[in-house]
């Protein structure tokens, strides 16, 4: 049996599954002040009739990290930065509590200026004096050579509560994002650690010995103990849970759109051959662009409860939500009211919906029917337009080879999956407008919990072999090793796959879910003068977001 729990902003959902059948679902209100109590409330009825020994795994998606960042409940962080030439310090994020070193590496990972230990000591004493307990260390091109970051960590020793190193958090190139990512990781580390330990205790007290996982922004899971090192990866796990829920509850492997139509917003995700798409570099949170792997979503400020106004002879939807729909006692007309009035959904009081729509209809000189139609059409158009723009953006992503430019795969969605309250009334027309077959999903009310429950462990690995230097660097592992000059790209891929498997297992993956995908494989002859001096081989591997072994996309979830 598997238990999935999603601690969302308003509700906490739990779903208990056995052989991909939903045995029990629970929905309670979330207490933001005390997430653990919400956990307890959501799971108590489940555990009342469940032998904890029968649980195979528990997966939790939580807003704790997201909230900490968005609500600015984070710790002060000292940053030690080795930046080298390039963009000026004024264009780096975080001017305060930042110490710039003179050491740096170049793009090939050669050390240009060695580390000056005195500078590190000065930074450390300055931060200690300022009462800073959390530290981030980031070097430009540290993914090409982590030596400076590792040496700095060694010098710092145990003098701080937490030290985050840039290269451990992502193998991708983007110094500014790496700084932001490292900063966030350090800033929420104490808060997250406390939370994770509390969850571990809570589960142990229930008598559960099964492994506990946390859902990450990329829709994959990570063992809770491992996650303590990488708290930043647990941000945005709610939206990720929703997308993984759609993945579990829908069937087939098509190009598809998933819409999570909520009260305030509509979240859009895209699947290519049934696999949810990831952000190119990383997700954005609290105004910061990061290197945190995350599912690619687009959110628009139009949901079932968005306030509708009549403005300049036109309907204006959202982005604000001023309460429930009028049909449910709310103050203003909303898309939900239009659907209620037109008989597309049956909730609340149709007369109240009509009365609210009437206020707009009178202003516009239309009948209530006409206005309700207009409200619905505008809502549909707004969602439709956002979906098309999003798909268009994905299809127009820059590529860097002639092959990709000419033969590049385009997303052409054929299916539309909808979850969320108002989706019932919008599914048919949206499907028509987008040229997709619409599907309302079963168990949609606990889709997030189901998504979390069934998500597999994901991870990625970035390898760069430079046969002139005779080194192979594995960025995320902070490893540099010798390779013979005749190394070939296939050797690197083989080695990378082994290392990725080890890493995934360390993160909590089971042997049967290690489905590896080669994201990038490039090999360049390095020519200087008229001689080929070596090869520059670049390989990126991942275990892509997906569902645990045993899930059958034909059968889906019962």
């Amino acid at each position: 049996m598997i238990l999935g729990i999603d601690v969302g902003g308003t509700h906490t959902d739990a779903a208990l599954l056995e052989d991909f059948e939903v045995k029990k679902k629970v929905k309670v209100k979330t207490n933001q002040e005390d997430i653990l109590s919400s956990l307890l409330e959501a799971t108590s009825s489940i555990f009342a009739s469940l032998d904890p020994k029968r649980l195979r795994r528990i997966v939790l998606s939580t807003t704790i990290s997201t909230n900490a960042i968005v609500q600015n409940k984070i710790r002060r962080v000292g940053l030690i930065i080795a930046r080298g030439p390039g963009i000026p310090p004024s264009l780096l994020p975080f001017p305060e509590d930042t110490y710039l070193l003179s050491a740096y590496m170049n793009h090939r990972g050669f050390e240009v200026v060695p580390l000056d230990e005195k500078e590190v000591e000065e930074a450390v004493s300055r931060f200690i004096e300022a009462g800073i307990e959390h530290l981030g260390v980031v070097g430009k091109f540290c993914t090409r050579n982590p030596a400076h970051e590792l040496a700095i960590a060694k010098l710092i020793g145990g003098r701080f509560k937490h030290v985050s190193l840039g290269h451990k958090l992502s193998g991708r190139l983007n110094f500014r994002r790496r700084i932001a990512t490292t900063y966030l990781n350090a800033a929420i580390s104490s808060l997250y650690r406390r939370f994770a330990l509390a969850v571990m205790n809570f589960v142990r007290d229930l008598g559960v010995s099964a492994p506990v996982y946390i859902l990450k922004a990329d829709g994959g899971t990570i063992g809770i103990e491992e996650s303590i090192q990488f708290p930043c990866q647990t941000i945005l796990s709610g939206p990720a849970a929703s997308i993984m829920g759609v993945l579990a509850l829908s069937r087939g492997n098509s190009d598809a759109i998933a819409l999570d139509i909520g009260g305030t917003t509509t979240d859009i995700a895209v699947f290519a051959d049934g696999v949810p798409l990831l952000e190119g570099f990383g997700v954005k949170i609290g105004g910061l662009k990061t290197l945190i792997r995350g599912l690619r979503t687009r959110s628009i400020g139009a949901g079932g409860d968005s306030r509708i106004k009549w403005q300049d002879g036109k309907i204006a939807i959202g982005p604000e939500r001023e309460g429930d729909a009028a049909a449910l006692g709310g103050p203003y007309p909303t898309p939900t009211d239009a659907m209620v009035w037109l008989g597309l959904i049956k909730i609340g009081d149709r007369d109240k919906a009509g009365a609210a729509i009437y206020t707009l209809a009178r202003e516009a000189g239309l009948s209530v029917d006409e206005m309700a139609r207009k409200m619905l059409d505008t809502t549909l158009e707004k969602i439709c337009e956002a979906v098309k723009e999003f798909v268009n953006e994905i299809n127009n992503e820059p590529v860097y080879t002639i092959h990709e430019l000419l033969e590049g795969r385009k997303i052409r969605p054929t299916n539309l999956y909808l979850v969320g309250g108002p989706s019932e009334g919008l599914a048919e027309p949206l499907g028509k407008m987008l040229g997709c077959t619409p599907h309302l999903l079963p168990h949609a009310e606990v889709a997030n919990a189901i998504g979390a429950a069934l998500a597999r462990t994901t991870t990625e690995l970035t390898l760069l072999a430079d046969t002139e230097k005779r080194t192979l660097t594995i960025a995320e592992e902070g490893e540099t090793m010798y390779i013979p000059p005749r190394t070939k790209i296939d050797d690197i891929i083989t080695l990378g796959k082994e290392r990725l498997k080890e890493r995934a297992k360390r993160m909590g993956a089971k042997e049967d879910e290690l489905e590896i995908e080669v994201l990038e494989e490039q090999e360049f002859n390095m020519v200087r003068g008229f001689d080929t001096i070596g090869k520059n081989i670049r390989v990126k591997l991942q275990i892509k977001p997906g569902l645990i072994a045993g899930y059958n996309s034909e059968k889906g979830i019962r």
Binding site: P85, G86, I87, H107, V112, L173, P398, Y400, I402, G529
Partner: protein, 432 residues
């Protein structure tokens, strides 16, 4: 701050040959540096996917022998398309300026194309410029070529065009390929002074480049008053470039770009792919976007070691003065060549070093006060092709057009493999 468009297309799967300077690896480290600096995350730097140029875009500029598809590959059409995309973003107002960081380059490709020369098959700036004029109306355009090699292809294409100012600063042709670009190359009889060459001595450093920029290029631009400034942004003046002998730095390139303030920059050459290009390109992007580029510096940069000699400084000062004086005096130049039946003829022998082809060309221009003048070209290459081309210029006068049309009709086909008629004004291209 300015909004800058970036068309980045490194063509990681294309090379002239595996060990040729123009190879897959060329923009690899530039990509690394651009990505690592996070330049694409700034709201005012936007990346665009290149479009693919069409045959008609090429035919507006070139006479490809025997036809377009025989002398270009997809890579050339993408490179030219990338330049077009950059221009479209600027002219539509989506961005303030744009940089087409694309390869392969194009500034050695002349009007008639029998093959590749100087790593270039088709002239991507010229294709872009004629695309602009076709789709956005006629413009006065200045091209400033800062590649280390003389932009002989661009010069050839605009030699007779009084509305296109071509300025090339490059290593003296006596010391470097293609061996041209001297001060006396000053434009055709109908376009005197709209070709300006600034041949700089080997080992010229930042100081020298910026001196001619300040004392020749900018003052001439000021007087020419172009609607658009295009920078052929070759990067082989760099002190680490393996195939040239100059001492320009990444910071110098950024400063030059900042002063020149081009509407569109297009990458040309530059083969110090590891030690120069990453820094030069980041510098140019920062400068175009209006960001502080004072921290752009190569790891091994040593201004003292790179300083140019006093002799070079003195030589450049004299050279700059002579060129500027010649420009100011351009309207008084009387001797434009021997006029025979209203035409002035020049003969050229063109060597296609990349493909090993030799071409003999006889080009006549109709002396005309009202337009750039009808151009007639007879070209014979050792590939066996013998062709004749009639080129009606943009904004042509009625007389030049009528004469061109008549000549096309009356030229006997049997004498040549092909007879081409190219009308830039009406965007017509005919072959017989």
């Amino acid at each position: 701050m300015r909004k800058t468009g970036l068309v980045f297309f490194p063509a990681f799967d294309w090379a002239i040959a595996p060990d040729h300077p123009e190879r897959e690896e060329r923009l690899l480290y530039t990509q690394d540096q651009v990505f690592e600096e996070g330049l694409l995350d700034f709201d005012n730097i936007v990346e665009f996917k290149p479009k693919i140029a069409k045959e008609e875009d090429v035919k507006r500029v070139h006479i490809c022998v025997p036809d377009v598809s025989s002398v270009v590959t997809e890579s050339h059409m993408i490179s030219a398309g990338g330049a077009i995309t950059a221009a479209e973003k600027v002219l539509s107002g989506e961005v303030d300026n744009a940089f087409a960081l694309v390869r392969p380059p194009g500034h050695h490709a002349m009007r008639v194309v029998h093959g590749a020369r100087g790593f270039c098959n088709i002239n991507i700036e010229a294709i872009m410029i004629e695309y602009i004029r076709r789709h956005y109306g006629h413009k006065r355009i200045a091209i400033v070529d800062t590649d280390c090699h003389h932009g002989d292809g661009t010069q050839d294409i605009y030699w007779h065009d009084p509305d296109t100012l071509f300025i090339s600063m490059h290593q003296d042709g006596r010391t470097l390929y293609p061996g041209s670009g001297f001060v006396d190359e000053f434009g055709g009889p109908n376009a005197l002074g709209t070709t300006i060459n600034i041949p700089l001595p080997p080992r010229t450093s930042d100081e020298g480049f910026l001196y001619v920029l300040d004392h020749v290029v900018l003052p001439i631009l000021d007087e020419f008053q172009p609607d658009l400034i295009i920078n052929s942004a070759g990067q082989d003046n760099h002190y680490t470039d393996p195939i040239t002998n100059m001492r320009f730095s990444a910071h110098g390139y950024a400063l030059l770009n900042d002063k020149l303030c081009p509407d569109i920059a297009v990458l040309e050459g530059g083969y110090s792919i590891e030690h120069a290009l990453p820094y030069v390109n980041v510098g140019i992007i920062l400068a175009m976007a209006g960001f502080d580029y004072s921290d752009i510096r190569e790891p091994d940069y040593d201004p003292e070691a790179l300083r140019q000699s006093a002799e070079i400084t003195a030589y450049i000062e004299t050279l700059a003065e002579a060129i500027y004086r010649k420009w100011q005096d351009r309207k008084n130049i009387k001797d434009v060549g021997r006029i025979v039946n209203g035409y002035i003829k020049r003969r050229k022998r063109i060597y296609y070093d990349t493909d090993g082809i030799v071409e003999f060309q006889e080009e006549s221009v109709r002396v005309c006060d009202s337009c750039g003048g009808l151009v007639l070209i007879e070209s014979r290459a050792d590939t066996g092709y013998h062709i004749y081309a009639i080129c009606v210029p943009g904004r042509s006068c009625a007389a030049c057009r009528a004469e061109g049309e008549y000549i096309f009709e009356s030229t006997p086909k049997f004498k040549y493999n092909y007879v081409y008629f190219q009308d830039r004004e009406k965007d017509v291209f005919l072959v017989k």
